[in-house]
C-alpha cells in the first residue's frame, strides 16, 4: 500500500459539493412529484371505479416489487422507442418519481384507511362531497400521521439517488466517479463522498424536524 493521499480530493471539493447540490435537487424533485402521484394513486385505489382502481393497485404492486435500477433502465431504453428523448437527469427523475409514487402510495394509503368512520359520517352529515372530504379532512390528517414514514422514504431516496450516476447524471456519486477516473484516488474519493452523504442525510433529518414543528 502506498498510503492515502487526500490532497487531490480536497482540491475537487467544490466540484463534489456541486454534485451534492444536484443530488439534493434530484431527490427533492422526485420526492415532491412522487408524493403528488402517491396521493392520487392512494385515492384512486380506494375511490375510483373498477378499471382505474385495479390499475392503481397494480401500479403499486409492480413498482414496489421490481428494482428501481431496472425500472430506470427500462425507461432509459424504451422512451426513445416512443420517439421521446429525455436527458439522463430527466429519465432518472421520471424513474425515481414513478418508484417513489408507488412506495409512498402505500404509506399514505395506510393512513387514509385509518380515518375514523366517525369522520366520514360527520363529513357526510355536514354535506361535504368526497373532494372536500379528502382535501380538508382525510388528507391533512393522513399526511400529518404519515410524516415519519415519508421522512424515512425521503432518506432512502436521497441514498438511492446515487444510482443516477449509472445513467451519466453528474450528481455526487457521478462526480466521485469522474474524480476517481482523473486521480485514481478511489478510496479517498469514496470515503469523502460517504461522509458527504452522511452529512446530507443528517441535514435532511434536521430540516424535516424543523418542518414538522412548523406544520
Amino acid at each position: 500500500m502506498t498510503g492515502l493521499h487526500y490532497q487531490p480530493v480536497w482540491r475537487q471539493l467544490p466540484y463534489l459539493l456541486g454534485g451534492a447540490a444536484e443530488t439534493v435537487m434530484l431527490t427533492v424533485m422526485a420526492f415532491a412529484g412522487g408524493l403528488a402521484l402517491a396521493i392520487a394513486i392512494a385515492i384512486a385505489r380506494r375511490e375510483a371505479a373498477n378499471p382505474l382502481r385495479k390499475a392503481a393497485a397494480g401500479y403499486v404492486i409492480f413498482f414496489t416489487n421490481t428494482p428501481q435500477l431496472s425500472q430506470i433502465f427500462a425507461i432509459f431504453y424504451c422512451l426513445p422507442l416512443l420517439g421521446l428523448t429525455f436527458s439522463p437527469f430527466l429519465s432518472v427523475l421520471l424513474g425515481m418519481t414513478l418508484n417513489a409514487g408507488a412506495y409512498m402510495a402505500d404509506i399514505v394509503g395506510t393512513e387514509i384507511a385509518s380515518t375514523p368512520v366517525l369522520y366520514h359520517e360527520a363529513a357526510a352529515t355536514l354535506g361535504l362531497g368526497w373532494r372536500h372530504t379528502y382535501r380538508h379532512i382525510i388528507l391533512p390528517r393522513a399526511l400529518t400521521r404519515a410524516t415519519r414514514g415519508l421522512e424515512n422514504h425521503f432518506l432512502l431516496m436521497l441514498l438511492g439517488s446515487s444510482m443516477a450516476s449509472i445513467f451519466g447524471v453528474e450528481e455526487l456519486t457521478g462526480r466521485a466517479y469522474n474524480i476517481i477516473a482523473l486521480t485514481f484516488r478511489s478510496i479517498e474519493v469514496i470515503s469523502v463522498v460517504a461522509v458527504l452523504y452522511v452529512v446530507l442525510s443528517l441535514v435532511a433529518a434536521v430540516v424535516f424536524a424543523r418542518l414538522w414543528r412548523l406544520a
Binding site: P67, Y77, C78, L159, T173, I187
Partner: protein, 218 residues
Amino acid sequence: MSFSHYDATLILRALAMTITLSVAGAVTGTAIGTALALLRFSTHALLRPLRLLVMLYVGLVRRIPFLIVLYGVFFATGMAGIDISPPLVALAAISLIGGAYISQIVYNGLCNVDTTQIEAAETTNLRRGTILRHVILPAALPGIVPPVLGYLVLFVKDTALASQIGVIELNQAGIILTNRGLPTYRIFVLVLCLYFLVSFPLTTLSRKMEKKLAASAT
C-alpha cells in the same frame, strides 16, 4: 435478432445469481445484525466501548448509499491486494449494509419489550443471558420478524446494483442482451417480470406473517 439458447442460459444463470446473492445476503445480514443488536443491548461494563462502536457503525452505514459501500468494498479489496470475485464483493457490501439495518430493527424490537416483564424476571435472580433467551427474545420476536422480512424483500431489489461491479445478475444480463442488439423493451419487460416473480411471493409472505403476528398479539 432473436432469443437464442445461449441468451436463455445467460438470463437463467443471472436469475440464479440474483437469488443466491439475496439469500446469502439475508443470512449474513441477519446474523451480523442480530449479533450487533445483542451486543448493543448488553449491559456489561467492559463491553461499553464496543457498544459505542456498534452505535456509530449502525448510525453511519445507514446514511451511506449502497452503491458507495459497494464501490468502497470493491476498491478497498483491490487496493489491499485481496483477490475476491465480484459476487463476493457484492455479498460483503450487502452484509455490511444489511447488518446495520437489521441490527437497528432487532435493537428497536428488544427495546420495545415491556420493561415490567424484564424487571419481574430480574427479581427472580435469573442470569441476564437466561432472561434474554427466555423472556426478552420471545417477547420481542413478533415485533422483529415482520420488519426484517420487509427489509429483506427490499434487498432483493438492491442486488441489482451489483451489476455495477461486474456481477452478472439479472439487471446486468438485461444490459448485456440489449447491447447484443436484442429488442430492448422485450428484454427489460422480461427482466422486470423475473424480479417480480422473485419479490412478489416474498412480499405476500411477509404481509401475511405480519397480519398473523398482529392477530396473535392481541
